[in-house]
Symmetry: C2
Subunit: 221 residues, 2 copies
């Protein structure tokens, strides 16, 4: 029960263990419901160690978010490079990007939950700290895909739809999804969901005239 006295000291390992534990606990329970006591216990250190390394609870939380965003930023950069390098047609690129984004989020449930909690509580971080990094990444994607120069904003709307479709099932896999008869419990069911999302986005891309400000007279959209 007591902390193992044989354990060797290792600040790097302790920091990482604390960040891991805090990420999971903050994501599962939220900031207020998580105590530094819990974090320490889950990380295999004492109650005071998180404070020793990170100063305060808020700073620990910020460090968790920072680490997540750094990881996300790198993944986004890689994904963008891959998309640019390919010379497929834009529809295939979009389908691949949606699929990748879906998988990316599915592999990072803690990240999704943390951001969702941030969005719900209107960010307890000073001002545009880590969160702006995520927004910056999204803005970069949208610029990269040439989706931001259409004044109609139709492309931006589609991007927001893509994010909605990939994001939502991860949060509501145990609430809304089963209620409407969509199972998401195993990998093949998630794959099925992903195929539906990709198909829906492609139908939307084909069906929507991407730059019709006031030209088309007949369409009754």
């Amino acid at each position: 029960m007591a902390a193992n006295p044989e354990r060797t000291r290792n600040p790097d390992r302790s920091r990482a263990a604390i960040l891991d534990a805090a990420e999971r606990l903050f994501a599962d329970q939220g900031y207020e419901a998580t105590s530094l006591n819990q974090v320490g216990a889950a990380a295999g250190v004492s109650r005071g160690t998180p404070g020793y390394f990170f100063g305060s609870k808020l700073e620990l939380y910020q460090a968790v978010l920072d680490r997540s965003f750094t990881e996300v930023r790198e993944a986004v950069r890689e994904g963008r490079a891959r998309a640019l390098a390919s010379n497929e047609d834009s529809e295939t690129i979009l389908a691949g990007a949606v699929s990748d984004y879906f998988d990316f989020l599915a592999a990072r449930p803690n990240f999704v939950r943390l951001i969702e909690r941030e969005a719900l509580s209107g960010s307890r971080l000073p001002e545009g700290a880590s969160l702006s990094a995520g927004q910056e990444a999204l803005a970069a994607i949208s610029a990269e895909l040439g989706l931001d120069d259409a004044p109609s904003g139709e492309a931006a709307q589609l991007l927001l739809s893509i994010i909605s479709l990939c994001w939502f099932p991860l949060i509501h896999a145990r609430t809304v999804a089963p209620a409407v008869g969509v199972g998401l419990e195993n990998e093949s069911l998630m794959e099925q969901r992903k195929r539906h999302v990709v198909a829906l986005v492609l139908h939307g891309l084909r069906g929507t005239p991407l730059s019709t400000t006031s030209t088309e007279p007949s369409s009754h959209d």
Copy 2:
């Protein structure tokens, strides 16, 4: 600053004021971050009154959810009756239902946030209490639209997509939406978003074969 001594007693008004205040505070800050002190102050009663009327903090929370779900259940019943009464073609009905659902959620930001928090924390309610009411309502809709007997689940997938698309912008109106260049600040921008969602769903409906299992390929009422 002190409570107005002129104030007449009125348990109904007090109960309602407490429920209103608690709904807003729980939705904005979450369960843990909200104290009964805050609830009392926001409701114009003393610190102890919420406990007097509702027993405990958890019971107050449950009462807030119950009231929300009752309201939602009634609205769903009305919407269903309206859809059944109309004799438009199914595509028009679906478009109207999506539009109504979008407006319905947009008019109930507290409800959306409460459910979102519930989903994130895995329901602190005993077991399938209020939440199942919402699931029940969704299941009813899906059955009503005849979307649940297709073994392929394509229709259920589309329903989940509809919910995702209507739900997401309400939570991320201040985070993701501006980052991708979609404004949602005023009514006309929300209207624009709604039109996009309806159009996307209709494209999905047209583009996807709804019953490609082994039954009748043509008739789908």
